[in-house]
């Protein structure tokens, strides 16, 4: 069959060419970390694939979820690998997205005309954090029930506790909601927002590239190289340190020394020292700052405020990890 037949009906080649042309526009390649977004996208792709595979065996049931994950890692062939890839790429996604955000912040690339790209990115970052949080609840290990209780309590402070719990108390309905969020609502929103984010990047190009002309295939090659590097790191982590599975949650209690994933440690530590009603401020203040940042014209104070927030988060995180 002639390629022209497909082309006539789909325009695929033309579309492919235009995408390639966009990717081949010259970029300020000397700038460090320019491929962080590409790596985040690649890792999210791995998350979608490994996550989709896990749904084949996972059972979102209060009493059977832990067994189903144990079945995946002990009996299903390569189950340990698929889960390990999902867990480790989740850690890497969160880390890379955080670095991507920090880089754009430091360079001030959120400024006009890229405000919408920035807000879209901030929303994407929150969704990635949400995916990490809800994913943590699914194995129903000792950390899961504590996490769900805390999430419901945060929601309670803004009157949305029932929406998280699915009833008056944390239970099966809560796990079902975590599952729905993790597997349907968050990934669906991610897909939509990633599309928008990329379209906006395509429209405004990268900071510093606005006036560059000509064509170069350097960026796709650099991005491919970065992604290969990320894949190599992921392979080593996933195979050398397969993701563990904690003991099954006690239905009657919260285990001693439960802690959330590292990215949530600053919040974990901070809620110890503030009243429950103030807990959502720990999310609202950084989120509000990031949303408002494109409107703040003072470059140095903004950078200083960002540094203070980061230092506070790191300090609290270290305290939380040691607690």
């Amino acid at each position: 069959m002639r390629v022209g037949w497909i082309e006539d009906r789909t325009g695929a080649r033309q579309w492919f060419r235009s995408v390639r042309a966009r990717l081949s526009r010259p970029l300020p390649l000397k700038s460090a970390g320019i491929t962080l977004g590409s790596v985040a996208l690649f890792l999210l792709f791995l998350q979608f694939v490994s996550g989709a595979l896990l749904t084949v065996y996972y059972v979102p049931s209060w009493s059977d979820a832990h067994d189903s994950v144990a079945h995946i890692v002990t009996e299903v062939r390569f189950g340990w690998l698929v889960r390990s890839v999902h867990v480790w790429s989740a850690h890497m996604t969160v880390a890379i997205v955080a670095l991507h955000l920090m880089r754009v912040f430091v360079r001030g690339a959120y400024a006009r005309p890229r405000e919408a790209t920035w807000w879209c990115g901030v929303l994407l970052g929150s969704l990635v954090a949400g995916a990490a949080f809800t994913g943590q609840a699914l194995p129903m290990d000792e950390e899961a029930t504590g996490g769900m209780a805390v999430a419901a309590s945060f929601a309670d402070s803004v009157g949305a506790g029932a929406l998280v719990r699915g009833g008056p108390y944390v239970g099966q309905a809560t796990l079902s909601r975590m599952f729905a969020a993790h597997v349907v609502f968050i990934p669906g929103s991610l897909l939509l927002l990633i599309t928008l984010h990329l379209a906006l990047v395509g429209r405004h190009r990268l900071q510093g590239a606005e006036t560059m002309e000509g064509s170069s295939s350097a960026f796709p090659r650099r991005a491919a190289l970065s992604c290969s590097g990320a894949l190599a790191v992921l392979a080593v982590l996933a195979v050398a340190w397969p993701a563990g599975l904690g003991s099954e949650a006690d239905p009657l209690g919260t285990a001693e020394h439960v802690k959330p994933m590292w990215i949530f440690l600053p919040i974990y530590q901070a809620v110890k020292g503030i009243p429950a009603w103030a807990a959502p401020l720990l999310l609202a203040i950084p989120a509000g700052f990031l949303i408002l940042v494109p409107f703040l014209p003072w470059r140095r104070p903004v950078l200083a405020a960002g540094a203070v927030l980061l230092a506070a988060a790191v300090a609290l995180g270290v305290l939380g990890a040691m607690a």
Binding site: A149, Y169, L252
Partner: protein
């Protein structure tokens, strides 16, 4: 009065987008109601065990519907609480040595009477009503 083509077009556009908005509202309106869970019948009473079997200084957890309760013997009397920590909702555990209830999540501790001792909290633990049945069992609930 004559009606021009553009007037007609503008009118039809308004009509179209208004109906579109109305349909969108009608379709989306049930969603928040769907997401908020309906109230379910609560468990009213549960038998926790024989009162005589609970030694002074010990405690026992029990399921109370979807809630978790804890009954403890503080040396003089039985005390029954909802195990939900008043800070962030994790489940408190009985410390038999210190004779207090502690929360593993953020370190709150409550006395055997449910009063907060230390750590982050939002008031005392919720007390659950109980009675001792004729056969000596602890029955929790109203």
């Amino acid at each position: 009065m004559s009606v021009s083509g553009s007037d007609r077009r503008a009118f039809l556009d308004t009509l179209f987008f208004t109906s579109l908005a109305a349909v969108a509202v009608a379709v989306l309106a049930p969603v928040p109601f769907f997401l908020l869970p309906p109230a379910r019948a609560r468990v009213r009473r549960v038998i926790v065990g024989l009162a005589a079997e609970l030694r002074p200084g010990t405690a026992r957890k029990f399921a109370y519907g979807e809630r978790v309760g804890v009954v403890l013997h503080d040396g003089t009397a039985l005390r029954v609480f909802d195990a939900r920590c008043t800070h962030q909702g994790c489940k408190v555990n009985w410390d038999p040595n210190g004779r207090f209830l502690s929360c593993p999540c953020h370190g709150a501790a409550f006395s055997s009477t449910g009063e907060p001792l230390r750590g982050p909290h939002d008031g005392p633990l919720e007390t659950l009503p109980y009675r001792i049945t004729a056969s000596g069992e602890i029955e929790v609930g109203e």
